[in-house]
Point group: C2
Chain length 340, copies 2
DNA sequence: GTTAGCACTCTCCTAACGAGAGTGCTAATA
DNA sequence: TATTAGCACTCTCGTTAGGAGAGTGCTAAC
């Protein structure tokens, strides 16, 4: 879509003003606050044109204009000017995200808090995955006669843990040798390359019940499976309540109920995200409350192939400038921290 | 406080009716729905008495009465009749809470979901603690030159995991022997009985840097410390939105913000809970939004000394009958499941 | 092509009003 | 003496009407 310079200015002014005030923007406001050098009447004509092009909307006949989803899209694609972050913000990020933390889980939790605090929107962080999972160590810990506890640590420092039912008649020694075998054979080897052949070999080698081996391997593979829905970390869930567009209990309920469903959130974010930073605006989102929201997503990396997605969820009237700046900032900060 | 039979009936009727309808209860309503055998005028006199005693309140002159916090207190202490659970509810509980789950964490998560689904209030479950923590196994897994990963499994099946900084100059062998020592000495022994003596012995025995030992032990002890704030699991956070008393964005925000702060929630629940089932009504709670809520808490046990607290948070106009029945039911169900 | 002027439209706020629900008091009743 | 019927009174809530304010679209002049 092509727009002449003045139309771009008018659209920019409306989006910019509406993002700040949440009030429909009138022609007089624009001519007062933005120096376009033309009168309100001229601006009104431009506004009528922009509305016809589907970039603006009018809540009712005698109100100012607000951007449509397509208007935001044009803004994000062509008008946006990403501001620089302040030094304080950068230092804060570095401090909060520094790897001197207890686990990847904690970093990710902090990331959610950080993002929500800095933006006043809701932050969503999908638990980290490894691009290629290699086990560092596996432990089979018998809990009682019919259950054992499988604990695995991956190369990236992720923790896998599952309870497994033991077929009757498996003794501690068997478990121990199975554990030794697993550690010898699996350590450092990409998990998804384990073939059923290996398992059959194991069966003969070890005389271990194939049931047990299969459940152990199933859990192991299952828990690292890329397609599975992992943990979801949220930050600033209540921030939506600050947005005037959500001063309505129905909407608040809808969005909070959505956020309570890890599966839905996971899917929404993973579907929205692509390479680099992604912006998904209003109706571009899957149907439901999400259509009144915008979602900015990106990929984070915690070194060693440990990676995941995160996003910021706000109203379509989101402060894209700032959000994009912060998302970019977080990505590069993490990169810096984890390449040292 | 003593009340004659008729006053008790009137108070019961008002609390009972108000819990169901959330509307102030008038004298006519009572005489119609509850068979007290007297006219509205008589009931009005009783109501005036009950108000003077501080058990009822009047939102405004020409409205019906609603129970005061003290009124609810009297109801809970003296008038309550706990109903029996239906067979379906009991089966559901057994199914959901059956120990055929992957970990204690998952049981606890399910518990939160179950409680909130059955009651339509918000469920809070504090992560399980062990009365006396004994380690079953410890592993020290080097991640890189300056960090290791400490993973411990307790007798009760709890998972402890912490990242630990390594003082420079510690090699893999040292770690391995430290790990062996820890497993030999700590396995099955109550952790809180470890004395600094043992650590000094270890220092000489092993020639390991005391720094390292200390950080490992600190983390180990710290992560099981009874006073520390642990994980908080919530269920049905949005359920409060169903309550008419929270059809007000200010209140909703206040309570949701509270629920976002694990520390506050943990403290509120642990402070409220005592032996057995506890009910904390409105102003009996710590100041803030909680004063408009009631909290029913109890202790759960997952066998083997693994235990914690859980609670249900709702408006003071909470359905105490049902909530108490369910809380009781959950406790006994868990007992049955984990004593098998 | 741009602008001033003006009639018109729509929202939002406030005040007024009546219906409805419930009380408290008084006087009659069992 | 305890209970009840009757009634005036109070307060909320929903509806309606009117006026201020903001902004538009159109027309005609520049």
């Amino acid at each position: 879509m092509k727009l002449d310079q003045r139309k771009r200015q008018v659209l920019y002014a409306i989006v910019h003003n509406y993002i700040q005030t949440a009030e429909p923007v009138g022609s007089r406001t624009i001519s007062r606050r933005y120096d376009l050098g033309v009168s309100p009447a001229t601006i009104r004509n431009e506004m009528a044109d922009l509305e016809e092009m589907g970039l603006l909307e009018q809540p009712h006949t005698s109100a100012g204009r607000i951007p449509s989803d397509r208007g935001y899209r044009f803004y994000v694609d062509s008008l946006l000017r990403i501001p620089a972050l302040t030094k304080q913000e950068i230092t804060l990020m570095k401090r909060i995200l520094s790897s001197r933390m207890r686990s990847a889980e904690e970093i990710v939790q902090q990331l959610a808090k950080l993002l929500s605090a800095l933006t006043n929107y809701t932050a969503i962080v999908l638990g980290p995955r490894e691009t290629q999972v290699k086990l560092r160590q596996v432990q089979l810990i018998p809990l009682n006669d019919y259950q054992l506890y499988l604990v695995g640590v991956t190369d990236g420092g992720l923790l896998l843990n599952r309870m497994i039912d033991i077929p009757s008649g498996v003794d501690a020694e068997t478990l121990e040798s199975l554990q030794r075998w697993l550690n010898e054979r699996l350590a450092g080897r990409p998990l998804d390359q384990i073939q059923t052949n290996d398992l059959h070999a194991l069966k003969y080698e070890m005389q271990v019940s194939i049931d047990l081996i299969e459940s152990v391997m199933d859990e192991l593979l299952g828990s690292v499976n890329q397609h599975e829905v992992g943990k979801v970390y949220l930050g600033g869930t209540t921030n939506i309540l600050n947005q005037p567009e959500f001063h309505d209990l129905q909407k608040v309920r809808a969005i909070l109920e959505l956020l309570e469903e890890d599966v839905l959130v996971w899917e929404a974010v993973s579907q929205a995200s692509g390479d680099g930073i992604t912006v998904s605006i209003g109706s571009e989102n899957p149907e439901g409350v999400m259509q009144e929201c915008s979602l900015v997503t990106a990929e984070y990396r915690l070194g060693d192939g440990l990676r995941g997605h995160f996003g910021l969820l706000g109203p379509t009237r989101m402060d894209y400038d700032r959000v994009l700046a912060l998302v970019q900032g977080v990505c590069t900060t993490l990169q810096q921290l984890f390449n040292m």
